[in-house]
């Protein structure tokens, strides 16, 4: 920790703060929004971006010590591939369960 240059330390600290803030914003959105389809937005995007920021911070620390962050890269790739898939499956399940939505249906697509 003591051999880090000032720029690397500032970059890692900024990435950590941004990642933690985005993770918290995603959870607040999931808690505070009104219906399920609004709540689906917050964690699938903001939380994934927050974890990406934390992984970038860890990779920057590894690079400054001369290591290649293969583990972090694998975790980031896996999360960024699977987050849209799981969100799509949850939205399909919510449509099937007919979870209530606060949004009005579009004019040209009235169901039932």
């Amino acid at each position: 920790m003591d051999v880090l240059t000032w720029g690397v330390e500032l970059a890692v600290a900024a990435l950590l703060v941004v990642g933690g803030a985005f993770t918290l914003i995603g959870a607040i959105g999931m808690t505070r929004f009104a219906d399920f389809f609004m709540r689906l937005h917050a964690p699938t995007k903001a939380t994934t971006l927050g974890v990406g920021g934390l992984l970038l911070a860890s990779m920057a620390l590894g690079w400054s010590a001369g290591m290649v962050g293969v583990h972090e890269l694998m975790i980031a790739l896996f999360l960024f591939v699977t987050a849209p898939v799981s969100a799509n499956l949850m939205a399909k399940a919510a449509l099937h369960l007919r979870v209530g939505s606060k949004a009005p249906p579009p004019e040209d697509l009235r169901r039932d």
Binding site: M1, L4, E9, L10, V12, A13, A14, L16, V17, G19, G20, A21, T23, L24, G26, A27, I28, M30, T31, F36, R39, L40, P43, T47, T48, G50, V51, L54, L55, A57, S58, L61, H71, E72, M74, I75, F78, L79, T82, A83, V85, S86, L89, M90, K92, A93, A94, H96, L97, V99
Partner: protein, 89 residues
């Protein structure tokens, strides 16, 4: 500076996990609870990454990868169970 940022990120992820737990306990429908569980898994991955940065251990990242895989598989299984009534046809 990194120590301060690490403490801030640990606190933020901890509060986020508490909010996910609140939604998991309270969620009006079952799919809300599935969403809260998925977010909780992603927050656990973030927490393990932060612990890996703090402890300087690369062993914890493999644990984070395993937790991410388990979270994805459990979310897919629960969502398919809720939408089809069956996990594997």
């Amino acid at each position: 500076m990194i120590g301060w940022a690490l403490n801030f990120a640990l606190g933020a992820v901890g509060v986020a996990m508490l909010l996910c737990g609140w939604r998991l306990l309270r969620g009006p429908s079952a799919i809300d609870r599935v969403l809260a569980l998925d977010t909780l898994y992603i927050n656990v991955v973030a927490l393990i990454i932060l612990l890996g940065i703090q402890r300087r251990s690369s062993l914890l990242f493999e644990a984070a990868l395993i937790v991410a895989m388990l979270g994805f598989v459990s979310t897919v299984a629960l969502a398919r169970y809720l939408s089809r009534g069956d996990v594997i046809e």
